[in-house]
Symmetry: C2
Subunit: 320 residues, 2 copies
């Protein structure tokens, strides 16, 4: 193995190399960009499934069961679990241990958790980069799992070919999912823990809401499934429903369109990140403090200060 | 009135002028920036209260009651209600009608709702600009109310002098607030609907969690209050607790530090928005499409495409 280059090892699926590559991306090491550039040529084969929903909906359990099912079909599975919520509770860590015990020792499975305080945008960006790494490393399915608390799951959903929104039967949950913008990203709904009261009502509520949305013959109408992930019930049905959506994407040529859109939005995000990095690198921190002193005495608007900073940035740029 | 300039009318508190100024900000009209620059010199007098929490916690009702209490103290109150969730349900609209009937006709109250699909970051940015307008227009208190679903309420909290996190007694709600990062921003907790079972347990759970956090003599330990907003119970206590926090900020000099931090982060955000606007304005849309065609045939990484776009942007910049 040692005679192979890093990229060759990555593409051959060597787990230690994959783990290192992901660490580079996660830690924003300078190596990351070259790895991603190299890996990209080998991407496009993995099918990407996004799994999201409110906290406590049972996303991790469902991901684990779906993973086991895919393994029974002899598919290699990469899982990226994004937890943008506070690490204060240690919830992610606990979930990880259960998960590792269940599927972590399987040679055909790669699991990685990513958590952070604060910058959600950055995290989902990195998760998509990591999906590329797993794709290039030969995983047939890459599952991007994230808790539904804002912008991050929308970003993750954009990066998936099929997005599954998981909710529980409890009243109000479907409405909350709706309010949180989850309705707009779901290709497939799973009412998990469906042995609890209210499961059928939740399914009906979702159906009603979906029918209210505008649609024509080409519009995908999300399937709504019931499951009890802890008892491994409904998992095969989810797998099949993902297949139906995949066929729909392929037949209607939406598959290519979706991936093109994803590509474009990634390019935009990368450009923005780099420009902003350049911008603040070019700024002298003491300069901002100087402005701060001025504003306290003179009451200068932040908009005026911003103008000065931009002018300064442009000057530095043109002198390069 | 007609002989006065727009800015004079704004500062005199003319409601129609305030409404127009906010519309300029909301719609990103070119007039907005000059208005904000002009208004800024007159800001700094209003006390800013952020009110956030999960959907259904009763934030609007609590805001309304607090507003009525402040009015009874002869304080002028501006309210900016930010609803970053999907307008699909029409929830915001319904809440607005109730609200307008209750306090909307009071001469000393100005209410404005801001809602959007998508760009959360942009919305909270605008909400802070609108707080400046209300501050300059002479409101003693500006209440920024937002639903807690991600990054936006963190941004709003940064813009407030005192942030109130509202939760309900139902089990798990406090834990969810914790997971959603609300614990890190609260200066004051309100367990609303505290006539429901579990209110005392929720208070105790919060206390336990708070004591787990690291703190020293200078650390503010958030107060935890119970309220029943619909019955106007606990509102005076909330008002008093805000006062205690305000005194703490002033005595410990944190007030100025907080406002300086807020100022700095606004400058940064404005600079970034402007630079990115400049960036995409400079790009030829067809150029991105051209790259897109290339990648489909050649498998070029988005990182490589990004590099080319940045190079191109730099060249344009230096030719100005």
């Amino acid at each position: 193995m040692s005679d192979l280059s890093f990229m060759e090892k990555l593409i051959s699926g060597d787990k230690r190399t994959i783990a290192r590559a992901i660490t580079y991306v996660e830690s924003e090491f300078s190596e990351a960009e070259d790895i991603l550039k190299g890996a990209f040529t080998n991407t496009g084969k993995a099918y990407r499934i996004g799994i999201t929903g409110p906290p406590g909906a049972g996303k991790s359990t469902l991901t684990n069961q779906l993973c086991k099912y895919l393994r029974s079909q002899d598919k290699k599975v990469g899982i990226i679990a994004v937890d943008p919520t506070s690490p204060f509770t240690g919830g992610a860590l606990l979930g990880d241990r259960v998960r590792m015990a269940e599927i972590g020792n399987d040679e055909g499975v790669f699991i990685r958790s990513m958590a952070t305080r604060g910058s959600l945008g950055g995290l989902s960006h990195k998760a998509v980069d990591c999906a590329d790494i797993l794709d290039a490393a030969g995983y047939d399915y890459v599952i991007l799992e994230t808790v539904g608390v804002g912008q991050s799951e929308l970003d993750i959903a954009k990066a998936a070919d099929t997005t599954i929104v998981v909710i529980v039967p409890e009243s109000g949950d479907s409405v909350q999912a709706m309010k949180a913008g989850l309705m707009e990203i779901a290709d497939l709904y799973v009412v998990n823990k469906s042995d609890r009261p209210g499961a059928d009502q939740a399914v009906n509520a979702l159906k009603t809401i979906l029918m209210m949305k505008e649609h024509d013959a080409d519009t995908w109408l999300p399937s709504i499934l019931k499951a009890i992930a802890t008892e491994n019930k409904g998992i095969e049905e989810i797998y099949k429903a993902v297949g139906v959506h995949r066929n729909y994407l392929t037949e209607k040529k939406f598959f290519t369109i979706r991936r093109q859109k994803r590509y474009l939005s990634r390019v935009k995000k990368i450009v923005e990140n780099k420009i902003l990095h350049e911008l603040w690198k070019a700024q002298d921190d003491t300069r901002l403090d100087k402005y701060l002193e001025k504003v306290i005495t003179d009451g200068i608007s932040p908009y005026q200060v911003a103008d000065e900073i931009i002018l300064n940035f442009m000057k530095k740029f043109s002198n390069r």
